[in-house]
Symmetry: C2
Subunit: 244 residues, 2 copies
Amino acid sequence: MGDSKAPASQTDCIFCKVFGRTEWSGMSAADMAKLNEAKVCRQFDRGEAIFYEGDECRGVYCIKSGLVGIRKIDGEGNSVLLGRLGYPGTTLGYRPLLAGECHRGTAEALEDSQVCFIAAGLVRWLLERNPDLGLRFLHHAAKDLGNAEEDFFQNAAHPLRLRLAHLLLVLKDHYGENFDDGTVMVELPVTRQDLASMMGARPESISRVIKELDQDGLATFSGRQVHIQRIDDLLWELDPAGEA
Amino acid sequence: MGDSKAPASQTDCIFCKVFGRTEWSGMSAADMAKLNEAKVCRQFDRGEAIFYEGDECRGVYCIKSGLVGIRKIDGEGNSVLLGRLGYPGTTLGYRPLLAGECHRGTAEALEDSQVCFIAAGLVRWLLERNPDLGLRFLHHAAKDLGNAEEDFFQNAAHPLRLRLAHLLLVLKDHYGENFDDGTVMVELPVTRQDLASMMGARPESISRVIKELDQDGLATFSGRQVHIQRIDDLLWELDPAGEA
DNA sequence: GTCGCGCCATGATCCAGATCAAGTTGAGTT
DNA sequence: AACTCAACTTGATCTGGATCATGGCGCGAC
């Protein structure tokens, strides 16, 4: 007790707003007690690192609030933000733990975030006693893997404009504020540079595409504020036929 | 007994040459017996489909011999071969099963292959009674996920020539025949078109890059035979610095 | 045989997006 | 306010790879 950093409220997980959405819900009371006792919550300021690329994986991180991204440094020294963002309810770091690897990227709080740490030993202990827990992580991993493969070849197949439109629509689901007139306001959680790196493009190209969308009247960009004027047209571009 | 198709020898898994490399090894004798009894092995000829994109996922497929690839049809009707190939010992189809999805791609035997089918119900039953089995699949999924993310941004970062060099070196590990003079002969398991689709490129571009490598004396291509003359130089291109 | 039909090679041209090079804006600091 | 530094915009230019078009070649079917 008595940390220099203000500790996040170390509430019982059962009271955590996002608990139901995590893989951890559904364990026995005894195991829950163990988890509650051992977990360590803490507040991270925007820009602060939670763990570093190359670090040994000491456990997993359950995101209570805020937003966390994973960064890698590519061969040329550029910082690249991976597509898979950590929203509240997401447990980060399970991949390297289970694959027996070091962290492949640096986790950084993209907004002020509250994060609970669960040590590797405890995770393994819980996994052994709760086959369901493993299955839920397996389900999660299977989903992630599907998305990663999907992204891989969507990326190759579609031009930048479409990929940006797609990303906007995804972010809208998490950060969108719907207006009465059918338009939507989205607050981008990342800089344009990060936006670019997430889509495998350069910032200049993003700027140009943004200008295009702006001129076409599809959306208005101002700093990190995006006002989507014509969602239907954006959807149309992604899938002219009308999916499914 | 008495199928129109020649059934693969329905040997006990314990005698299967690749059994030790699969996720299935390490279960109790009783569970093994159950698996042996219920599995269905069969021979697939080159080009034959094992399951189809969009099919409900009825179980998983353990590859005993041969080679299996996953194809998707992209928006423009082109066939795209995914990077993740199924070598002997690989269990295919676990991803959609665990994610509760339909098959996202068509599995096709790239060579004559023997494949054992294990029904979904049995898989779930075994997973519940064998936490370790789940953990091994989790480990596998975690590895696959790591590779998928790695590929994603390697693809964006490197030009075609490097990506082809990399793929060649991977295939070498599975299909290479080392000669005394240090050169290697690789028999490509796929057509140039598939090669192209795996790397998100067009066949014409592959042809041109191949000609380049040929002229530079790095490798000689003749049909599906590739004679790698200077592996060290190929490695050098991938990582001029000298990894690690 | 030769007909057809994928697969592959090669040339000519085009284009999305990268790269290079200045500016501009904007938030934070002293 | 003036200074700084990073994020952004905009323009000019270059280029890897796509696209379009054509011809050769290997192979199975008849």
